[in-house]
Symmetry: C2
Subunit: 235 residues, 2 copies
């Protein structure tokens, strides 16, 4: 199966959580919107043509099937890429963890856009500072501490125990992104996350990921994505 991924070009964004799974598994896929004419194809799929119009990218096309939402795409791909357990209970637990990542990612996005994506960052800077102050003090430690706790309960080395799954790839991306956006705050927050950092380091040296990170397919972090480095927000 050759997959087609549709996501805004120029940023890692939410699409990156899907890319990491495809890359780790060595799956065959096209990153369609990064090619000539690809954005138009993506917009057409969101418009009037398909039977099941998605609300927003990322989208995955697998044969005739088109699905959206990172957590659903990973739920679908997981067993096919051998990045999920086989039993129903395990699959639901993994999906549940990924849905918590979804919520976390939305809050990370809101550090620079607390009033909505329709405002420019410059037009809501004091609000971004208040939001981010609370985020770095309360929310990020709460979410990350939760995943550290899950890891301890699993017995490690991965979030589901001995089985490596797509949630471990998402943990890698969260830590990479938060280090980029908030290097100062993360130095402090990381101290309480020894097992999560171990997952991060294990992911970084996996052959598929290692090769991907060194390639041009990995778009550098930048100030158009989810994880943005605005020094004034990083206490």
């Amino acid at each position: 199966m050759r997959y087609e991924l549709f996501y805004w070009p120029g940023i890692q964004g939410r699409g990156e959580f899907v890319r990491l799974a495809l890359e780790d598994a060595g799956a065959s896929y096209d990153d369609v919107a990064r090619r000539k004419g690809g954005i138009n194809r993506m917009l057409a799929m969101m418009g009037d043509r398909g039977k099941h119009p998605p609300f927003a990218p990322p989208l995955l096309k697998a044969g005739k099937l088109v699905i959206a939402h990172v957590a659903e795409i990973l739920f679908y791909l997981g067993p096919r890429l051998k990045l999920a357990p086989r039993d129903e209970v395990g699959k639901l637990w993994l999906h549940q963890l990924q849905l918590t990542v979804t919520d976390f990612v939305k809050e990370i996005h809101d550090t620079h856009h607390p009033l909505g994506g329709e405002f420019y960052y410059e037009d809501a800077k004091p609000e971004a500072k208040r939001f981010t102050g609370n985020f770095l003090k309360q929310r990020a430690p709460k979410y990350l501490g939760y995943f550290e706790h899950v890891l301890k309960k699993s017995g490690g080395p991965y979030l589901l125990g001995r089985k490596f799954t797509y949630i471990d790839l998402s943990m890698f991306q969260l830590i990479e992104g938060l280090r980029y956006a908030f290097p100062n705050a993360m130095k402090r927050i990381e101290r309480r996350l020894p097992d999560l950092l171990d997952v991060h380091d294990r992911v970084a040296v996996r052959p598929g990921i290692n090769k991907y990170l060194a390639s041009e397919r990995r778009i550098p972090f930048n100030e158009s994505g989810i994880f943005r480095h605005y020094p004034e927000l990083d206490a």
Copy 2:
């Protein structure tokens, strides 16, 4: 199967999307945290005891299985309550729509808490006004217009076509809640949603829902839940 639902007592909140499915299907369930000692049981399940500790309520217990996140709970319950199609493609499409509801509900929550749930409403009122202004002008019409579009593409009368599913119950709850929170703005927004209003009206007269809404099990909307009526926010 007798289900156990765990959610904060005193509000409809996110738990209500699950309650509506259980009630429509006439399922047997306990709303545990509304009984004596129930909150402690809920907190214990989120703590150190279980193998798969959830991040936040609502939680559903079905036999030994404990799952969290509204969309995952409905994904699990859907086929069991005959509120989902049987085929995989249909189930994924339904889940995808519910995940879009999840995103919408988060934005609805943020109308009164744009800087984070840790701030009192009174401490971020100007921010709530700016957020809500944009929400009512851009976001709510975008989300609701999307669901209206989906309905048109399905051929109706329900979001998946002829098959009634849990997403229709969520549409009912969204419209009820938004009417409660923003009666003025909704009068304007609703004009473009004839088919969605038809779904709302069909849901209201379903026997299970009709009985539920008239019962004490339906907690009235209030200013502790997701949908809050603050007149100053309703343009």
